[in-house]
Symmetry: C2
Subunit: 410 residues, 2 copies
Amino acid sequence: MALPVSPLAPKTYVAPPAIAGVRFATAEAGIRYKGRTDVLLAVFDPGTVVAGVLTRSLCPSAAIDWCRQNLGGGTARALVVNSGNANAFTGLKGIESVKLTADIAAKAVGCEASEIFLASTGVIGEPLDATKFDGVLQNLTGQLTAEPWMEPARAIMTTDTFPKLAEATIDIDGTTTSIAGIAKGSGMIAPDMATMLSFVFTDAPVAADVLQALLAKHNRTSFNAITVDSDTSTSDTLLAFATGKAGIDPIASLDDPRAEIFGEALNDVLFDLAMQVVRDGEGATKFVAVNVTGATSDDSAAKIARAIADSPLVKTAIAGEDANWGRIVMAVGKAGQPADRDRLTIAFGEHVLARNGQRAPDYSEDAATAYMKGEELSISVDIGLGEGSATVYTCDLTHGYIDINGSYRS
Amino acid sequence: MALPVSPLAPKTYVAPPAIAGVRFATAEAGIRYKGRTDVLLAVFDPGTVVAGVLTRSLCPSAAIDWCRQNLGGGTARALVVNSGNANAFTGLKGIESVKLTADIAAKAVGCEASEIFLASTGVIGEPLDATKFDGVLQNLTGQLTAEPWMEPARAIMTTDTFPKLAEATIDIDGTTTSIAGIAKGSGMIAPDMATMLSFVFTDAPVAADVLQALLAKHNRTSFNAITVDSDTSTSDTLLAFATGKAGIDPIASLDDPRAEIFGEALNDVLFDLAMQVVRDGEGATKFVAVNVTGATSDDSAAKIARAIADSPLVKTAIAGEDANWGRIVMAVGKAGQPADRDRLTIAFGEHVLARNGQRAPDYSEDAATAYMKGEELSISVDIGLGEGSATVYTCDLTHGYIDINGSYRS
């Protein structure tokens, strides 16, 4: 899998700060890949709370079931992530493998298995041999460190061409608290709760229910607002861990004004990571924001934006640098949402191509074509019926996507 | 658009018989293409009834609106089809263009404009200059012929790489009656009533409401059971014309046993044409039948089958000849329909890859991989919950699709 780095990759990587109460280590367990790390162990101090949003797939992985069950407890002592094998659709073996991994981790860390959170990403359907973690996790507890975050970001990659990191620093009550986040994801990206895998860590003392509410809220406009290929993963996982080590009074309610301050910072991190997933979309050469306004509701706008962003014909036209607004009309038409052909306005960037359901009189094909040659594009559609709006972020559909996905497993 | 002929094209073409009461002619009107026919005029004897199913797109073309309005009348005297320009999203100009075309045709044929049926296919958003039809349609009325059907089949093509024809001959009351059908379609194929364009002609004396009922019924398992790229056209049109010239008593009710006989023959023609559309899917190298059984209802089975058939990850795996059943699980999981991971059975052809939610013990990767090298594939998924079943037909997603759609308009 020696894929060239996405042309849309960030030019530099951020280096999130150490988060008090969080230490981690990575290893080469040889699950599938050779010569690179594929296991992450993150250990949290006692008192760390956890929140999460998980895939809505009706065929989730065994690890998803495990996390869903343990999120009820609200506390976490460790996170174990492996790449190379998703442990999805592995039947009873998968469930046993998850339980064995949690037991090994609980013993290594010294906690209950119910305080272990797990995520697996990679090939679906291959049994995961959890005995490979025996010894490895125990060894890792002797190598725990608080930095650099580049290491865990790399260990969780699959077809990703670059590691994804984000950070935020917040002043609360005169004290600096921080958020560090990592993510992986490149294909099978149409999150129906979260992207494939993302983990966010903070030292802010945020109560579990507050953290859960903020995570769910900001997930909607970040990970749930992206699509690479309309395919929803069996393993989508977004987990947030708050150690409470920041030395400020606990944020125990959404009514606490500091919850909003923290929430905004959390949103910055989630949004940043989600955009990096789109920028690493398999085969991507263009980053595209699809803005829909004037729909009858925000939900309707989101469905229309997603129909546009998921359309293979729209995505191939973008790859071909073709300002093909007819395909935007097609996608609006297939979305099944209230729309009136003769009220639509469509723009690529600042270039209004169509107004009131027909080609704009002042439309310049040359200007629109020149715009399409850029790497960062926006498509704006005004439905002309109401006040609903939404933005979905996506990438183009290129030969690279076919190359990667015609040969991923073999 | 000198595309190579699809490797899945039929080896020979059928030559449907002349249909009494139907004559046609084609011309080069130079709407977009050069050096090929792009206009079809078909003229029907008085007494011809018509039925149709049209796109459910909420942004339909002006011709769709026109046909929908005229289908209420139940009778037809002529059909005018042009390729190269879809006359979709052309605002008031599009409506005027449709009206002018119908007026020109009505004058040439000698009938009411409301008895003229229209279809346009090609680029969306470009105004269609209907004055190009003036003179052309009048000339065509002097060149009408009843054969060969290859001519109209060719005149309506856009990115199609081969003409699509089908026929059926039925013995009713000791009299031979016939059905001739043509279709076009290759991309923007996820019909939500019909494919882009298909026209079926018969000399059977079928009442308009019976014809409509039979057409809608058999459309569900033919054109509405295919997908190339999940994109629903603004111009999907399936029209059936019955001249009643066969010299048998009219089929005036669905309770008439001959309605079923005729319906079966109609189904043969529609299904044949629909499969040809899939076989000419843009860039297709594999024909795939996706069979879903054991779902909680037929509708649920159809939604699951479509999620599989529309998945870019499934389609690229097929292109890569990879028996990647994990992606089938993913697609089942994202369909949003009742499913239980641990009851799924998945087979490629006769090769059962997974049973009860995990890899089948007797699974042979070599045998499955050898099977995937074939051109005609089937994917079978048993949900294990009920009696619902459905089949959706599709093709793979290849570099050819990207090539065609990254440069179609420019």
